[in-house]
């Protein structure tokens, strides 16, 4: 293929210029492959730090592999044993296993008890250092150090900010079907460190505030569904607004100062925005149809939402002041629960057609609609939200799961929701272990 293309260009140039002129070549196609990266366990000057060095390297390998843009090479294939972060590696030993990037690191407990981790990122082709940094924290925060290292490597190589040092808030469910316990839960982006924030009462659709340690969610604790704010530092919960009607589907504006939500009145649902500083409420839609599921654009100037004003559930965009609502989804089926990516270049949504549910992405003008491949066709994405730094979705997927054959006569299909993280460009999915999760959102 390369030969054919260059042959054509050479023939075209021959008649025009002398034989000594340089060839001009345009490369306009490529295939995207994950970058092979070697991350050996970090060195430890003291034997006591050996497990920290191994654990941190293991989390960095997993973070980068999970992003889909890197392929973390198996440490068992490594030929060279690195001698600490200040030694220059012998790059031939890493080229031979086809590594294109290499990370060397070291973990050292300081005299004050804190853990210091140094690392260097090397370009194996050029044999030069791309990055060198150091992080210090209390020893039990070693996972955060690993995620910060992953963020730094990711950003240096892709140019994009990493999202590994982020958290997901979601509702985890446990207990028997008749007495389900739903708890507001926060966990690291890789599924580690789950922490329960609430207990007992019914809580849905939690969302992080982009700038503060605060979560907005909907709760039935007062008997009717209402939007609440939960301050993570004080643990205080506060109802938003004094409405007699149901409020739900809250989302923060990018600057954290406004919450957009749906208010139901007499069977009609409309979108309202509340300014958190003045607590004033402004109505944004006034159509007799059901308007819901609002999400801000990253510059805060527009809102994407779902409406059935055209006869079926579709995706619309309007100004943040409610002006100029216009439809952007025109594909077949019902399209809803839209979410705007933090980069502003994509809107994710769910599409229901011919009995199946799928997740799709499109540009904000509605063009370029496509469905990244999702494993099980019979999944119903419940709620979508984008990672703060990247177009990665945590979609809460209700998977229909066949019950095991048991002696019990009841063989109804049981729903097992889970948190799934999806890359909308590559279609790569990642499922989190553990039971029953619903409605997640990323924290920056």
């Amino acid at each position: 293929m390369k030969k054919l293309v260059l042959g054509l260009i050479v023939v075209a140039a021959f008649g025009v210029s002398s034989a000594l002129a340089a060839l001009r070549v345009d490369v306009t196609q490529g295939n995207i492959q994950p970058l092979p990266i070697a991350i050996p366990d970090f060195n430890a000057a003291n034997p006591a730090d050996t497990s920290a060095g191994a654990n941190i390297a293991s989390v960095v390998r997993a973070d980068l592999q999970r992003s889909g843009l890197f392929r973390s090479l198996d440490p068992k294939s490594f030929v060279e044993q690195l001698k600490g972060v200040n030694a220059t590696p012998t790059f031939a030993n890493w080229r031979v296993i086809n590594a294109q990037a290499l990370v060397s690191g070291q973990a050292t407990t300081q005299p004050d008890g804190r853990l210091r981790v140094d690392f260097r990122l090397w370009d194996v082709f050029e044999g030069s250092q791309m990055l060198g940094q150091q992080f210090t924290a209390t020893p039990d925060n070693w996972r955060r150090i690993a995620h910060l290292i992953s963020d730094a490597i990711y950003q240096r190589i892709t140019g994009e900010k990493g999202y590994f040092d982020t958290r997901i808030v979601f509702i985890s469910e446990s207990g028997p079907a008749t007495k389900r316990n739903k708890r507001l839960t926060v966990m690291d982006e890789d599924g580690a460190n789950p922490k329960f924030l609430s207990n007992g009462y019914l809580v849905l659709t939690p969302r992080f505030n982009p700038t503060a340690q605060m979560i907005a969610y909907m709760s039935y604790i007062s008997g009717k569904p209402r939007v609440y704010l939960f301050d993570m530092e004080s643990g205080r919960q506060e109802m938003l607004g004094q409405f007699t009607n149901m409020t739900f589907s809250p989302r923060f504006s990018p600057d954290g100062n406004r919450v957009v939500m749906t208010l139901e009145q007499g069977g009609n649902s409309d979108i309202y925005v509340m300014d958190l500083r003045s607590r004033s409420m402004t109505r944004l839609t006034s159509d007799p149809s059901i308007d819901t599921s609002p999400s801000f654009s990253p510059d805060g100037s527009q809102i994407v939402f779902e409406s059935d004003r055209g006869g079926s559930q579709q995706v619309y965009v309007m100004g943040a002041d409610g002006s100029n609502p216009h439809r952007i989804s025109f594909g077949p089926g019902k399209n809803g629960t839209p979410v705007w990516s933090p980069r502003g270049d994509l809107i994710a949504f769910t599409k229901q057609s011919a009995g199946t549910f799928r997740i799709g992405v499109m540009k904000p003008d509605g063009s370029g609609e496509h469905m990244p491949h999702l494993g099980a066709q019979r999944t119903r994405p419940d709620v979508l939200t984008h990672a703060a730094r990247r177009t990665r979705l945590a979609n809460l997927v209700d998977r229909y799961h066949r019950t095991q054959r048991t002696a019990r006569p009841d063989t109804r299909r049981r729903v097992r929701p889970g948190v799934v993280s999806l890359d909308p460009v590559e279609g790569r999915t990642l499922e989190f272990p553990g039971n029953f999760a619903k409605n997640g959102s990323f924290r920056p």
Binding site: A19, A22, G159
Partner: protein, 78 residues
């Protein structure tokens, strides 16, 4: 986003020396991390795909490729 290199090849199609960014690509790569990432990826691609199968009797025509332009916008379809 476009990054451009100068590539010198040996008669067997191997890369003669490390390709350099040309024109305004170097300045743009220094100021923009996304351009730098694209340039790094293009450089890795050039080195990974070597050696190149090109007609040996026409070496004088392809020993210098200038510019070798990578247009990333088409690769991702957006």
């Amino acid at each position: 986003m476009v990054v451009a290199f100068i590539l010198f090849l040996k008669p067997d199609g191997a890369v003669a020396r490390l390709p350099q960014l040309t024109g305004d690509s170097l300045a743009r790569a220094r100021s923009n991390p996304n351009t730098k990432a694209a340039a790094d990826a293009a450089l890795r691609a050039i080195l990974t795909c070597a050696p190149y199968k090109l007609p040996a009797d026409r070496y004088s025509e392809w020993q210098e490729i200038n510019p070798l332009r990578f247009d990333a916008s088409q690769v991702l379809g957006r």
